[in-house]
């Protein structure tokens, strides 16, 4: 069943780091997963494991000092890491919605709820502008691609001599910082070594710089390469101009027609009313009132052709508000966020995310700030919406109970990497990675009696990510190789992968801790019993 579904979103080998005063923090270090249509993928991990950062990258809202080092995020045939900010507007919020963790801070306290919900609809609601952009876009893309190709060729040419120079500059600055950090007693010996090293490196780089004749050759080559591209650009530009003109005229024509037809209709309404008034002048007032109403409706319709009007936005907002379970939406529409309880505020946030009909919804710990009972309501709501609106959901959390409730598939993240990924049955009944074991056995459930197995230590410092397996230091099953080399993904079944050396064929056989094994066995046993009962029930039905 899983395989038939289409892939909605594909993340491949994504790596993100942040520049800070201390150095580069490698928050995400190579994450790959795919999100299928109408499925819920839960990402579990403790704070700082990079789960939120990954999803912020998907939304294109990384902090200013964040850099995507490598990898790609494929959505709808586009690589989200490469497209420009302007194009991202059409995807963010519109196609991919996001619900944030804290409903208190994600709403504007001095803005009425209604305005906050309709804001996005009104801003994105310029229908004619949108149509123009859509129709022009394809031709524009061609032109853009050709231009990009040209820029790339020129840059490549320039890089042949600028690149090594840049490299030399960097080597020098690196040398300076290294020299500064040397201890006094090493200054003489190590300093000399460093200088020697620098000299060698610079000489190497200098050898890479092409000579004058070589450069001429390269220039000729560039000219030759540029020719076909140049040829492409010209007709593309011409085509783009023409298309622009066409589309603009088409839209203008439609708009004119719409205006005229409205005018015509209004005239008709007026004439009709005049006639009626002549027939029975006693009802003059009532008839005029009717006329006014009809005329305003027609005007409204005309405006709606151009853009989303306030009235229309309000109608939709009220509909969505009642859809997410807010009672008395008419009254609530005019209230401020402080007049709402935590659960209701989270519902508003969900409503805002839904206004644009997204097909992927990212929920970043939507229930962490809420109570158990309210949490359950919100989870049920997300589940309901997922079915009704055919959403694919990425659900970020650190609560395994919530994961069990929501997820079809689960990815466990640790220190910027996915350590285990599989269906929720795989993860909860047949976990393979020691970190998953530790997570599962560190929280008490309602039947736990024995001492909890805590994970000792703290997550690694991502300024200096550890060399081998990041979890090795806190892992009681760690082997020598864990400290030296990063484990690859080992396949357990078609849906289930884990990155731990324990699954290597040469590794010693290690079973999950006893408490966890007992717990899993207990769960499965109870299901077998219940399953038998449920089967009986279903046949009876």
């Amino acid at each position: 069943m899983m395989e038939e579904r289409e892939t909605k979103l594909l993340v491949e080998d994504l790596a993100i780091s942040f520049w800070t005063n201390q150095g580069m923090v490698r928050a995400v270090r190579g994450v790959s997963f795919e999100l299928k249509e109408q499925e819920t993928l839960a990402i579990v991990g403790e704070s700082g494991s990079g789960k939120s950062v990954t999803n912020r990258a998907i939304m294109g809202i990384l902090a200013g000092n964040g850099v995507i080092n490598r990898g790609k995020i494929m959505y709808d045939g586009q690589d989200l890491t490469k497209i420009e900010e302007e194009d991202f507007h059409r995807i963010r919020g519109d196609r991919i919605g996001m619900i944030f963790q804290d409903p208190m801070s994600s709403l504007n306290p001095i803005m009425r709820i209604g305005k906050q919900i309709t804001e996005g609809m009104l801003i994105n609601g310029k229908r004619l502008k949108r149509r123009y952009k859509q129709e022009v876009n394809k031709v524009k893309q061609e032109l853009k691609n050709a231009k990009r190709e040209k820029d790339r060729l020129i840059k490549e040419y320039k890089d042949t001599f600028k690149g090594p120079k840049r490299e030399i500059r960097e080597l020098k600055s690196e040398y300076r910082t290294k020299k500064k950090s040397l201890k006094r007693k090493h200054k003489k010996t190590r300093g000399r070594e460093l200088k020697e090293q620098l000299r060698q490196d610079i000489a190497e780089q200098k050898a890479l710089i092409p000579s004058k004749e070589e450069r001429l050759d390269l220039k000729a080559q560039l000219k030759k390469d540029l020719e076909p591209v140049q040829k492409k650009i010209k007709p593309a530009r011409e085509k783009f101009r023409q298309r622009k003109k066409e589309v603009r005229e088409g839209i203008k024509k439609d708009w004119r027609e719409k205006k005229e037809s409205t005018r015509e209709q209004i005239r008709k309404v007026r004439e009709e009313t005049e006639k009626k008034i002549q027939n029975n002048p006693e009802e003059k007032r009532k008839l005029r009132k009717e006329r006014r109403k009809k005329v305003t409706n027609l005007h409204e319709e005309q405006r709606r052709f151009k853009k989303v009007t306030r009235k229309e936005a309000k109608e939709r907002a009220l509909k969505i508000m009642s859809e997410v379970g807010i009672p008395e939406p008419e009254r609530r529409f005019r209230q401020y966020p402080f007049q709402f309880s935590g659960g209701m505020r989270q519902r508003i946030v969900i409503a805002i995310a839904l206004t644009a009909d997204p097909d992927v919804l990212i929920c970043d710990e939507p229930t962490t700030a809420l109570d158990v009972t309210i949490q359950q309501q919100i989870l049920d709501l997300i589940k309901k919406l997922k079915v009704e609106r055919n959403l694919s959901v990425i659900f970020i959390t650190h609560d395994l109970g919530v994961v069990a409730n929501m997820a079809d598939r689960v990815a466990v993240m640790y220190a910027g990497k996915i350590v285990e990924i599989g269906t929720s049955d795989d993860i909860f009944y047949n976990p393979k990675h020691p970190y998953t074991w530790a997570l599962l056995s560190s929280m008490p459930n309602l039947d736990t009696m024995e001492r909890l197995t805590a994970i000792h230590g703290t997550p690694p410092d991502m300024l200096h990510p550890p060399k081998g397996d990041a979890f090795a230091e806190r892992n009681e099953y760690a082997m020598k190789i864990d400290f030296e080399e990063e484990p690859p993904f080992f396949k357990i079944s078609d849906t289930h992968y884990a990155a731990t050396w324990l699954l290597h064929k040469d590794a010693p056989k290690v079973e999950p801790p006893e408490g966890l094994r007992d717990r899993i066995k207990q769960m499965l046993d109870s299901h077998d019993k219940e399953g038998a009962l449920a089967d009986g029930d279903s046949t009876a039905d």
């Binding site: 109970g401 069990a404 909860f428 560190s442 929280m443 008490p444």
Partner: protein, 392 residues
């Protein structure tokens, strides 16, 4: 997990009809929030008493009122048999009530007298009746004055008890706060933070203070070197350990832990729970554990009280509560706990609680003991219903 020794049932802390109200505004804008509204329970020596409820139900206020960060509006708190806090609202109301009642009774007597006077004609008899009634009214007034003076005395006593904090006794109650980041002063070193309690208690010898701080740090699993660092140098779990150490330094008997793990990461939560568990076994502490996570509460505490909007709705030992949840709110709370078990989650049915389901117009509910050690908030009709539902 060891259960508390409940053989000697000595309540270390008992709370009687505790109320804490917060008022804001004056005149027509006056708003009274009944944060805690009549809560009574006993906590026995050596046990862990869990208090659950959703946010805003008053569980933190209860804890803070016990340690006297808030003034109780009404009710009494006894610690080791000594009253450490009391509110005067009910006494004030008693005084008002007696005044009003006496006034009413006197008015009634006067009316009677007037009727009788109208019927009689001779002056002598009239005089007699008058005297008779005046005596009666005088007696009434006397009894009123006596009652009121008694109540006033009680009021003064309560006020005195509340005013003069029994510092020696209060030192035996300590609190661990929810947020390990907010609750530690960023400008103080760990040693200063931990030693503050000792200094306030009057300890002046620097040598002993240092030694004690080191001892406590080792108890909670930190190292001596950590004493001179600042809170920001520690991770969340370690910070919460500092919070625990700060509570332990004055060697208390009773600790109020106010959601000590809800602000921590999953992998760290288990560390802190294990630490608290060790401490209570090694040091023989009594704990009041406030949380909203039922699975943690069940793992950790011996008896559990469920709170809903300022009132206790159910109180029982943990086995009993999970076997026989009687109050509908408890049942809905239990049904909302997520399990790390996907197949169970997919079939789970949730129970909704709607407070308007109770019919309390005729009969107001009371916290009644339905079974040995199992209390539930119910009126008579509900009590019968609950009794039938009990399973042994």
């Amino acid at each position: 997990m060891a259960t508390a020794q409940q053989t000697d049932k000595q309540p270390i802390l008992s709370v009687k009809d505790l109320k804490t109200h917060f008022t804001s505004g004056i005149g027509k804008n006056k708003l009274v929030v009944h944060a805690v509204d009549g809560v009574s329970f006993d906590i026995y020596k050596g046990e862990v008493f869990g208090l659950v409820g959703e946010s805003g139900c008053g569980k933190t206020t209860t804890g803070r009122t016990i340690i006297r960060l808030y003034e109780p509006t009404d009710g009494e708190i006894f610690f080791k048999g000594v009253r450490i806090g009391a509110g005067v609202q009910s006494v004030d109301r008693g005084i008002k009530h007696t005044r009003k009642q006496t006034f009413r009774e006197a008015r009634k007597l006067r009316k009677e007298m007037r009727v009788k006077l109208r019927d009689t004609e001779t002056m002598g008899e009239k005089e007699k009746i008058k005297n008779e009634y005046e005596e009666k009214i005088e007696a009434l007034k006397k009894s009123r004055d006596k009652k009121i003076s008694e109540l006033r005395e009680e009021r003064q006593k309560r006020k005195d008890d509340t005013k003069e904090k029994n510092t020696k006794l209060m030192r035996d109650i300590q609190m661990i706060f929810q947020d390990p980041i907010e609750s530690l002063n960023p400008r103080m070193t760990v040693k200063e933070i931990i030693a503050e309690g000792l200094r306030i208690a009057g300890m002046k010898k620097e040598k002993i203070i240092t030694q004690k701080v080191h001892e406590v740090l080792e108890i909670v699993g930190l190292r001596r070197e950590h004493a001179n660092r600042y809170p920001h140098e520690f991770s969340g779990g370690q910070r919460q350990r500092i919070g625990v150490a700060r509570a332990l330094i004055v060697s208390p008997d009773f600790i109020i832990a106010d959601e000590p793990i809800s602000a921590l990461d999953v992998s760290i939560q288990a560390q802190v729970i294990n630490l608290l568990d060790d401490l209570r076994q090694d040091l023989g502490l009594t704990l009041m554990f406030i949380a909203h996570d039922l699975s943690v509460i069940k793992y950790f505490s011996d008896r559990i009280a469920v709170m809903y909007y300022g009132k206790l709705v159910e109180l029982a030992s943990k086995e009993e509560l999970f076997k026989n949840p009687l109050h509908p709110y408890t049942r809905s709370l239990l049904s909302a706990v997520p399990h790390p078990d996907p197949r169970y989650e997919k079939t789970r049915k949730r129970i909704d609680y709607n407070p308007s389901m109770h019919d309390y117009k005729v009969d107001t509910p009371k916290l009644t003991e339905i079974k040995d050690g199992h209390w539930v908030l119910a009126n008579k009709a509900e009590l019968e219903e609950y009794k039938q539902r009990l399973v042994d």
